[in-house]
Symmetry: C2
Subunit: 144 residues, 2 copies
């Protein structure tokens, strides 16, 4: 990791080490605040802006990318080899991934038709996840 960062023009520090490690432990769709909470538990001297900056660094070196769902919070999603879309539950904010291989060719073609050079694709489906639908049903039962 240290060598990898060097090739990108970044140094390794204890804080960066901890922040990177924590981010990759947490998996996907992490917000600055969530990561800060986790990191701060382990080392109470690490500041919020350091966590924020390092999430940007993780993106700059290509290990993650920003995800925006319109709820005002930027999340950072670990870049995987597999392109995927998101099912975003409006109620519990859960983010579920799904495969978008099947539609990518169509999207690329669509861009080309309009002479648009596509760099990245995002597909977000908003709605209610299974659990929240169940909750909603219960609530409705009680009303009757």
């Amino acid at each position: 990791m240290k060598e990898f960062l060097k090739t990108k023009g970044f140094k390794m520090t204890p804080q960066r080490e901890l922040i990177f490690r924590s981010f990759f432990e947490m998996g996907k769709h992490v917000s600055v605040e969530e990561l800060y909470d986790k990191v701060h538990q382990k080392d109470r001297s690490i500041g919020y802006s350091t966590v924020w900056r390092n999430l940007k660094v993780i993106c700059k070196v290509g290990l993650a990318e920003e995800v925006n769902l319109g709820d005002g919070v930027t999340r950072y999603d670990r870049v995987t080899r597999e392109p995927h879309g998101h099912l975003f539950c409006q109620n519990c904010k859960r983010l579920i991934e799904f495969d978008i291989h099947a539609v990518l060719p169509y999207l690329v073609e669509t861009g080309e038709e309009k002479n648009f050079r596509a760099d990245s694709f995002k597909i977000e489906i908003t709605g209610l996840c299974e659990d929240c639908q169940a909750m909603e049903n219960k609530k409705n039962e009680r009303l009757h």
Copy 2:
């Protein structure tokens, strides 16, 4: 329009009339600031928060929806009968629409597979539009 609003529990006012009218004249992908500029030209007494609130009202009554592209600005997109995706040029911020009918069945099915109740779909392709690609090419030529 007045009657329609009434059924939704809203009143009509001169300000609202002007804001609604301006929004629908402007077409698509309007930010609060853009709409405020336009409205303020016509009636300098209308405040920013009134414009903001009325964009929310337009969404609440189902005539528009918020679009978020990760550049920190919420845009309001007139709801059309035709579902569409967006080509978003990172350079000039232009937003080009494209038809997503072909992929909707796949997306619905994907949600259902995971017992997810889909309410809305967003497909955003980020990259460079035709014009900005041309500019980029020119810039590269000059460098050689």
